[in-house]
Symmetry: C2
Subunit: 138 residues, 2 copies
């Protein structure tokens, strides 16, 4: 039993769209599959697993380009390359968290000021965005 699938079955099994499968092939993430006389692509379980790999890596913030690199790793230096990439992503994520925390703090201060002062007829949020030397600046 060969378990060969056409593209629709693969897409359904892997939880993506047909167009996504074609897109991944064009992008080099999936190999050009074997094709019978019909011209229909023929996939196996390894392709399902490969798409799952892609999707898992995406949830961790790896771009498709990153993922293409990870998928190519196979050799004695694989782990150090993957390690370095993951470390780089880790730093990017940490930077992004810090940036968002700064934004969160500024927004929080704006919201609080609005709640304290909104009786005065001037909006502290609009004021702080309108002027450079606002009390919100840190």
């Amino acid at each position: 039993m060969k378990n060969r699938m056409t593209i629709g079955r693969l897409a359904e099994t892997a939880g993506v769209g047909v167009e996504t499968v074609r897109f991944y092939q064009r992008a080099g993430l999936l190999a050009e599959p074997k094709r019978p006389v019909s011209g229909y692509r023929e996939y196996g379980e390894a392709d399902t697993r490969r798409i799952h790999f892609i999707k898992r890596a995406q949830t961790l913030g790896f771009s498709l380009e990153d993922i293409a690199g990870l998928l190519q790793l196979d050799g004695p230096h694989s782990c150090s390359v993957a390690h370095d990439l993951a470390l780089e992503k880790l730093h990017i994520v940490e930077d992004k968290i810090r940036s968002l925390e700064s934004i969160r703090d500024a927004l929080w201060q704006m919201v609080r000021q609005c709640e304290l002062k909104h009786r005065r007829g001037t909006c502290p949020i609009i004021q702080s965005l309108a002027h450079r030397d606002s009390s919100v600046s840190r």
Copy 2:
């Protein structure tokens, strides 16, 4: 002395590109300016200030659409509208921080495992991405 500026001077003063100014006008964020016989747009200091408002709001995560709404606020209900929008952005940012923290944790665990185990010839990062029931799953 009128202090009128053509588009290049406005762009330079406001710290954006000429194309950006034209884009903001098309997007409705800047008003159609007065034009002499030359057909050249004529700007004043208020336009500089308006662009600064836009840029400040952008750094806080407001989209151009959000900002267009903020720029229109002028009236007794302005502050509550701005407050609600800022509160909404605050929640979005907090959600995003939590999501990134989860990603950070997963990446950190991967990196650590790689550093502990990379002598064995199999890469824990690749392994964890390749299989559903990995030790990295939380």
